[in-house]
Homo-oligomer: 337 residues x 2
């Protein structure tokens, strides 16, 4: 049905190799160029990437495996990644594994069958077992947002400095006199959860404050979870004077919980949130928060992947650590001592 290069060859009277050269940026005599272009138009020729892939043994497809597609932070990273990759003519196959390691492994196999040129993974399986095969096959593998201990030195990654980010937020609070600081974390055992907890604990220690487990809650990185965690913290007999919430959805949930309870920010309670997404826009313009550069994360990941694809040196591990920013708002007040 569709026209092939062979048809172009017949139509123009030129050799197949010449047609191919034309499409691959080689030089072709002016009159032949015209001839070819006319034939392309006439026959509605569209190059067959599949055949090209078979021959060149690269597909210009990147597999992206994520825990959840319904997460604003993740989609904004993917968005910026996809944008850059597509501009370089790379397609992105997204696999949502619903935070299930089994599905994640299946996704890896699925993508490997399809001979993707590279793999970008926001990992669910914290052991890294699922990445054995792709690593062995020699294709570039890139972790995003979450490192995996056992893969250290074997894999590249783009992350933020979570310890520092959390430390910065908490230190801000302690420096203003807060000593009872509620922390709302994501799911236990995740890399980011652990790192942010570490940052929190470090900052408390620096301020000479003993941590209280009552103040540490896990909100599953969902709006609902954040809402619940905030509710619980508010019910404590010894209610915290400040809250540090460690992602976007949970921050939203927390703010809603506060509003439902008629708690004023910062008069009654100080809050530092996490992630500035477009959604926030004008709605909480006064929120003090830790801003993760999700656009940069996506951009760095895409560019790092492109680098890895074009450099022959395989098995090199590069870790890009991006820094977060504390955006001052009006949701934190100094405690009168």
């Amino acid at each position: 049905m569709a026209a092939t290069m062979k048809d172009l060859s017949r139509e123009t009277g030129l050799g197949l190799a010449t047609i191919s050269k034309y499409f691959n940026g080689g030089t072709v005599r002016e009159k032949n160029r015209v001839l070819i272009e006319a034939a392309v138009k006439k026959l509605h020729y569209v190059p067959n990437e599949v055949a090209r892939s078979l021959k060149t043994s690269h597909t210009r497809v990147i597999g992206v495996i994520i825990p959840e597609l319904s997460n604003a932070f993740i989609t904004s990273i993917i968005s910026s990644m996809e944008d850059i990759l597509r501009k370089q003519d790379y397609a992105v196959i997204v696999c949502d594994c619903r935070s299930d390691p089994k599905r994640e492994k299946e996704a890896v196999d699925f993508l490997l069958h399809r001979r993707v040129d590279g793999l970008i993974n926001m990992a669910t399986d914290t052991t890294g077992a699922h990445l054995k095969a792709p690593l062995a096959s020699g294709i570039p593998v890139l972790l995003v947002d979450r490192l995996i201990d056992s893969l250290q030195g074997k894999v590249s990654a783009v992350v933020i400095d979570n310890v520092h980010a959390a430390g910065q937020a908490v230190q801000k609070l302690t420096s203003l006199g807060h000593r009872q600081i509620g922390l709302i974390l994501g799911s236990p055992n995740l890399y980011t959860t652990n790192q942010r907890l570490t940052g929190y604990l470090n900052a408390l220690q620096d301020a000479g404050i003993a941590p209280d487990n009552e103040y540490i809650r896990y909100g599953d990185y969902t709006m609902d979870g954040g809402y619940q965690a905030a509710q619980e913290l508010l019910k404590l007999k010894n209610r915290p004077t400040a809250l540090f919430v460690t992602n976007f959805e949970m921050t939203l949930g927390t703010m809603l919980a506060l509003q439902h309870n008629n708690i004023r920010v910062p008069e009654d309670l100080s809050v530092i949130g996490f992630d500035k997404l477009e959604l926030f826009g004008e709605i909480f313009p006064d929120l003090t928060l830790i801003r993760q550069p999700q656009l940069s994360i996506g951009r760095e990941a895409a560019n790092l992947m492109l680098d890895m694809l074009s450099s022959k040196e395989t098995g090199v591990s590069r870790i890009v650590t991006l820094t977060t920013e504390l955006t001052e708002g009006k949701s934190v007040k100094a405690l009168k001592v």
Copy 2:
């Protein structure tokens, strides 16, 4: 590097065709089956989908073009679609065109080059010009969420009955005595926007109420837009007694605006929202809203696409219209007359 069927053939002493038959479900003598499986294990053979695609001239890839990846309604549809398609061994290439018709057209071309087996599109370009080529090429094209007039009869689609959905909501309000009903719509000229507006106007007419343009606002389908639109409606001298908000993000924005203004729902103002997404969870359990079955939309779309792929009849147009549901909460009160 990677093992091929030819290697298996050499290893087992069997013919290439036999190996192929084995992989494609043909019958093979027991001892040969064992032989092949051993060789597969030994050589770490992984089938090359690219070669297979070239030969069979289908790629088992579906292209999905959407206006925006950062939209909870859209990602929840994609999520459920991807799930079903991947189970049938179809990969999904997602292209986010940022609501830009030019990018949308580019995405179509991009996917066509890659010889996707089918195209699913939540269309940005309301003229449908971008779908000419794929339609002509004979691959299945499926619209989701938004119809395109000029393509009627030429293309299949999965949509909800927007006119009815909006009518249902507004009729609920009028039946309870509301006559000043604010409407917060998405971007002008979109299919869903127009349809929902029609449903609103119909219901007003049925109730003998003359529409007031002041009450009709466009919130761009974003949380921010919804927030702004609500703010504006609240400032009207003749403030509406009820609000109907036509998507998830804007509903969220509206609720925040109400909370910021200390307006109680439903005591001070009745609200009917749109879209029940997981995010909502426990947070607004009492919100009355129109529930779009996004999981079903994704499922129906995936299944319809699979149908189209397996049936030879090309160019048949099937429109699946799903119904919405009015979920009663406590955010609407009857007006004392």
